[in-house]
Symmetry: C2
Subunit: 703 residues, 2 copies
Amino acid sequence: MRILKTKALFPLLTLCGVATLGQWATAAEGMWTLHNLPMDRMQAVGFTPSQEWIDNARLASVRLNDGGSGSFVSPDGLLLSNHHVAMGQLSAVSSPEKDYVKNGFFARQAEEELPCKDLEVNILVSMENVTARVQGAVKEGATTEEAGEQRKAERSLIEKESKDATGLRSNVVELYQGGEYWLYRYKQFTDVRLVMAPEHQAAFFGGDLDNFTYPRHDSDFAFFRVYENGQPYKSEHYFPWSQIGLKQNELAFVTGHPGSTERLHTLAQLQTIRDLINPFAVDGLVRMRDTLEAYGKQGSEQERQREANLRSVTNSLKVYEGRVAAMKNPALMEAKVKEEKDLRDAVERNPAWRAKYGQAWTQIEETQKRLAARSNEYYYRRLGGVISGGGLANLAKTIVTYVEQAAKPNEKRWPEFRDSSLDSLRQKLFSTAPIYPGMEKKLLAEALKIALKKLGPQDPFIVAALAGRTPEETAQVAISGTKLLDAEYRKQLVAGGLETVKASEDPLIQLAVKLTPFIDEMRTWYEKCIEAAEVAGKTLIAQARFAVYGKTQYPDATFTLRLSYGKAAGYEQGTTLVPYKTTFGGLFDRAKSFDYKPPYDLPAKIMAARGKIDMDTPLNFVTTNDIIGGNSGSPVINKEGELVGLIFDGNIDSLMGDFLFDETKNRAVAVHSAAILEALTKIYDMGGLAAALTQGAIRRIQD
Amino acid sequence: MRILKTKALFPLLTLCGVATLGQWATAAEGMWTLHNLPMDRMQAVGFTPSQEWIDNARLASVRLNDGGSGSFVSPDGLLLSNHHVAMGQLSAVSSPEKDYVKNGFFARQAEEELPCKDLEVNILVSMENVTARVQGAVKEGATTEEAGEQRKAERSLIEKESKDATGLRSNVVELYQGGEYWLYRYKQFTDVRLVMAPEHQAAFFGGDLDNFTYPRHDSDFAFFRVYENGQPYKSEHYFPWSQIGLKQNELAFVTGHPGSTERLHTLAQLQTIRDLINPFAVDGLVRMRDTLEAYGKQGSEQERQREANLRSVTNSLKVYEGRVAAMKNPALMEAKVKEEKDLRDAVERNPAWRAKYGQAWTQIEETQKRLAARSNEYYYRRLGGVISGGGLANLAKTIVTYVEQAAKPNEKRWPEFRDSSLDSLRQKLFSTAPIYPGMEKKLLAEALKIALKKLGPQDPFIVAALAGRTPEETAQVAISGTKLLDAEYRKQLVAGGLETVKASEDPLIQLAVKLTPFIDEMRTWYEKCIEAAEVAGKTLIAQARFAVYGKTQYPDATFTLRLSYGKAAGYEQGTTLVPYKTTFGGLFDRAKSFDYKPPYDLPAKIMAARGKIDMDTPLNFVTTNDIIGGNSGSPVINKEGELVGLIFDGNIDSLMGDFLFDETKNRAVAVHSAAILEALTKIYDMGGLAAALTQGAIRRIQD
């Protein structure tokens, strides 16, 4: 499953979706905020959570800064998430000599736990409705654009006041397309250490082929420990470990941070995605994949270096291909046509509604035309985007923008450069995680090459970027000569501010300085001319939906904490059934069925433990919970609030999740809690860790 | 997998197909006659069989009279086929006290082997091209209809002469839509005894859900022994047993008796199937399924009685539903449109071809209109058809027709009543296999009910059938009062001939006497007005194809011996791979994944043997061989002529096999030779049988 990238450099690519069909969400549909749980619906399926249950679910759940979710599973700071969420950290601390990605990582003593430089953990400690204040900041007679600015400024102010008053990370989040604003305060931890991760091959058995599929056989888990003041954090709120897991049809709850959904998109927006965005994106991803694969063929060290990057790209490619297929599905588009027609007809029948909301669809349609007219520039006049210029080029660009933005007042900055976000941003900018210049050079050269091809040699962006050289030469000069590999040099540049950066003779910084105006112009144009009008239109449509269908709906995902309810359940596929769970026996069967050929080979530790493992132990299972990218690492809990599983993927049908939720097919895929215990005790010699988990459970029961 | 019904009571339902796309068959496509193997193509994939190899493949392969295939696997008459081919026999010899279907059957001594009353085995001992003689029988100036009669008469004559001269079963088979006629002579065995069959649940694990799917985990095998003169038949030709089986991509050969394909159908015929035949058939099958299910709910004995029948019906329903889906696939119809256009264009461009073949398509189109006009009568004015009036009603009808037909000269009879077929027919008519009147009553009542509804009370057929009574009363009277359950009574009727039958006071025979004229009129009309014209048109099209594309093609399947070459190979499904084999570990995984809920429960013997079974032993595997219903029980052999597997099904994509062959998706599903040895020795305590198989192999190697 794709993990969410917190700051997409290419917001156009935030995927779209069709609205919920009809008036009512289907049974398990919905990513509900914890201040507005659908108690009546949950009661209808057999469970009314107490406030204590809800609070524990919230406070035991965490958000990870690099786009995933996690949860506390012991009273002393043990944190469970996915191996693929930990992958970036594992990769960063690995070297050819100590390849933790390949071999796994196992700390059996506290002192062996491995600090994760870039990892940040956030707990949502309070939620406050600030809608009235944000909306109240809009002055009488303001234009749409001015209103947007005024709301933005007020949100920044609220965030700053809160941060100053409480010291907590404070974000004003927009829900229901601006129907509501909430101040979320997070307790933040930056001392996070890796406790245990299985081998990459165990976590990602079946590789990119089996990714997004089910039945599945992946041990995609990792354990961290959160520290506070140099001591394990006393996590009062955690999920006790269930050794049994869920029976078929038993209720399942998932807390976590779904990244984004766009279930309110109009037909015009869907057409843009189908005809414009998808082809751009697939083309870019294919180029990036090919570049990384070619680089990996240079040798085993290059292969190791490009692994995490390649995995992320092929994963995204699979998502896009699934969505391309979904967009070509006539049933989906027909459903969307009908849904839009029904809503618009209802609006038209009521004069008041017609006056207020009737123009929203046309308004959005106009933005789509404007976008199409500049799409080529928008896509290729940037080092970022899907075909990334590489991590190093992005660092250079971010440093240039950082010093420019930091010179402005807080409320005038882009959101990711506001005070409330700077800690996280700095942690990322100054990370000492290794950077591979060979790979960076290839990625930058490819990004420049395609930009040259698509924009032509006369385009001002190309003229500025190449200055008469070839893309390869440009990349060679910029990457070979840069000192940005040194985190200290990055710190100096940021500390020196705008003047220092502009005066820098670093060739990559110089390139970034030349290109940043083009890139930022595109962003500003997009935000002002496209996004703002889209948001205005979508807000009207959201209001129209409230008017026509009532207000018992969930907001689109926004990488904020949500709870989903569902159940453990298999499904039909073709003419047969897919079971709700798989077993360790199935893992060995699938490996042997492919004669252990990669990606169906098994790590030595698993082969060695074969005689000890109880083959009937459930390994993975599926539930009807409504999840999306960003939910990776989410706990699956039962009615008792016990941890029964760990979300790590969705099935192939879940790739439509941005568009719509289909309970008959859409499944969340999880690692079973019993599988993790079995693996810890029988495969990885991590009995101590297993005991810590089950003791937590016992203590809880004795409470 | 559906086993072929030798005499479809509803020939309209013989399913259709689109022609091979383009000029050349794809690599593994083709069901080749053994007198015209594509040696150049086989050489191209790496194997040129010797004449000895080909002869052994032919003489070790057998045709079973109830629609399946099989092969000799030892020098002393041991015959391997599918459990589902043996199912009818198992069901016939079972009773509530000795339920061999449920518990399996295991003869460990020769005297324990169980005679199969209705089973007949045929070996194809000679093949002779008689095209010139059959075509030469058509007199100068004969009309199409007369020519058909003259060919029919000549074929009957050839068969009779051959039978008289050799004592061998002799059939003149039509190939290439009448492009060739061959005299096939079979050595016939009627003393066939069951040696071993596993439990139904082992053979059919996953039930109707997993039927036609893959990955698969079925022990769908059974062993018989063929006797000659009361002694085990000395089967000089047999396939030595391979304990290893095939590696991925290793060449695989399948000999057997594919029932029918219609890869030459025109667009007009395909439209008839899509719009007329499929809806009729699905409706009929659904009714029959519902009737049998309702009957089975009356008690466990009723459930046992209806089991084989229900399985056959649900199986057929799955085939139809797959085909309905295939017909709705625009790509398939587009391919067919293009293929027909290409051929017709080529014909049009050549004046000689245009004159000879140009009208064929229109001619066939006209027949489709005639068929549509009478389809309701044709479908419902019969006790037979898909919604069968039941086995007993069919017996009554067959007896009436038998005595009528037997009164005519041999060459004037319908093919299944000619002398060459009478032995087989009598064996079926006089079988003492149990008949369940309760179930028969329900089936007959349902058939009459739907006929009444569709034809209306004034239809002469309905008037004759019901004579003022309700369908239920009619069925009650006919079935309760009949003596046809007694095989001796049936013999008396047939021996007595037409007069005896007409004078019979048996109510079911009386009903059959009344209805037979209607049923036969429909058959005659169909054969003369539809089929003959279709055949004439198809023959022209086949000739046009020979003219345009050359003559290196295989004929459509005709339930005669064919050889297919292919390889063991998995395939892509969704975004991932399906492995080329499964293992015993996968069987236990799937059972446990469904918590052993039927149809995923495991028989006691398998559960008990769990600790002994080597879980890595391959259980099922797939090959690219081109097979179809009738290939059930076919051996899979390797280049050395060793038995490596046993065909028992096709995957879901193979349901298009009547229409076209798609090598990327279409797979034959087989039981692995190693799985059978593992099951015999570790699960079923049949070490003696296993030794006989492997000793055969050793002896062979020592030769």
